[in-house]
Amino acid sequence: MNRYEELLLDLVNTDERIIILTAENRGHMRTIPAHLGKRFMDVGIAEQTMIGAAAGLAVRGRIVLTHALASFVTLRPFEFIRDDVGIPNLSVIMVGMVPGFLSDGNGPTHQAVDDVGLMRGIPNVGVFCPADEDDFIIGMRDIILSERPFYVRYINTPACVEHDKNFSIGKAEIVKGQGMGQRDITILTYGLLLKQSMQAAEILESHGLSVQVVNMRTLKPIDTEVLLNAAAESSLVVTVEDHFKNGGLYSILAETVLDNQTPCRALAIALEERWFRPALLADVLEYEGFTGEQIAVRIQRALELQPKDSYAELRLS
């Protein structure tokens, strides 16, 4: 039994409200059904029915965790999430497996790289994007027991940093450069790319640059304070995400600084109007320019391209 299954089993055993549903996507929870009895149900390959049934269970007082591939749990039943979970604000959690780059070689049909934008666009629906398995386990209990709808990007990769065990919905985790003050760069990220962001930060530091790295944890609600601090105290704010540039963290940053009239220099490291080349994860990262080293170079270039001499730079290249 993996840690996710252990957590679910513990929650089901200690809280009679909790029900687990899947649409025949049992990856990462293959051993648990036998232990959950009637509190685990599989609707078959029918994501819309899964979300509708989850809403029906939730309106009777249940907390329902639905589990399927990230692309399938967000796209096919989108209207059911919006209408039957979002409008009545019911306690339904959508856990999406292999989000973003984690879908490896599946191809664009399976690439949930629009999921954050879609889910955060629904009033009442929160979004939790943990960085690795430790981060997921630390936050998941609060998310499930929050009694509000949440979309969760599932991840079970080994921890890349020692995470703060204090988890609070809407609070980011500053994993490098806490209380740093004025600095060259703040990297804002979520999900598996925290690891590459940390690697990039170390490379940049070795070149004498000061860097803060933030693991956003929940993208909705967003930690506005951390974003505004990054805008105010960094020469460059970088968002790193395995998501379309449109709708994800870069969009959230833009909305936040505009709302507060505190513009900043920003760089989006994201997918721009395209899906990624399907391959094994390490090769995807390399091909798409998301290794630690590539991220560092992209940031360095952006930093060197000062607004005042940017035209000259363009002519030279």
Partner: protein, 285 residues
Amino acid sequence: MNKSELEDLQRIALRVREHILRMSTDGGCFTGASLSCADLLVFLYSRFLNVTPETLSAPDRDYLLLSKGHDVPALYGVFAELGFLDPERLKNHLKTTDHIYWHPNRAIPGIEFHSGSLGHLLSVSIGIATDIKLREGNNRVVVVLGDGELNEGTIWEGCLTANAWKLDNLIAVVDRNHFQANIRTEELIPLEPIVDKFKAFGWNVMSVDGHDYNALDETFASWKPGTGRPTVVVASTQRGRGVPSIAERADRWFCNFTHDEVEQLIGELHGEASADLTSETLIVR
């Protein structure tokens, strides 16, 4: 059902139809579809469902969900007549000061779940029925589907799941008025043989005249718990029932009449002369 019980239902239904017609002005509503299921809803709330204004939150109450939400004027009319809802509030139709609009929502007492987009509430009903089973309750869950709504793939997904999960506390009622929005069902996407379709999905299927209270009584009385199978009642109805000048007309689905026309139509409902309707009809291809 004795004669006076029958007359009671008929009297309530007449009042419900008046309410529907009175909501068919100043912005209008889905008059035709509301009139077709009025008798079904009067029957279900008066004779079948174990729910009253006093037991709206009771854990053992029966549920009714209106999946074809655009016929909510019929449901509000029933609520107003049976004491769930102050009849005065129906005058707030489409006013920002209340929550009475073209589709149901939970701000109105008695509405178990909101709807609007078709093909949603069978799956929500599956969730509710499943929770009742888990808690070993005896509540029944009735979900009213439109016949046009059967075009939606999620209905058939739900039929598979409800059968797989042996939800014998779930009863779908199809308001078989033979019309979808703009056209007769059989001219657009033929649904027949509906009964065979549901049978093939493993459901217990019953057919009934949806305007005949004695037949409805007999049909629903024959429903038994514990069969291991979900039930569907295919209720034959007539769109615009009770008001001949708009009955079975594709162009009288959504109606926004003048006040004078409403009064004429109410007269027609009570057996007076046909209304002289000049207000705009829907364009039908």
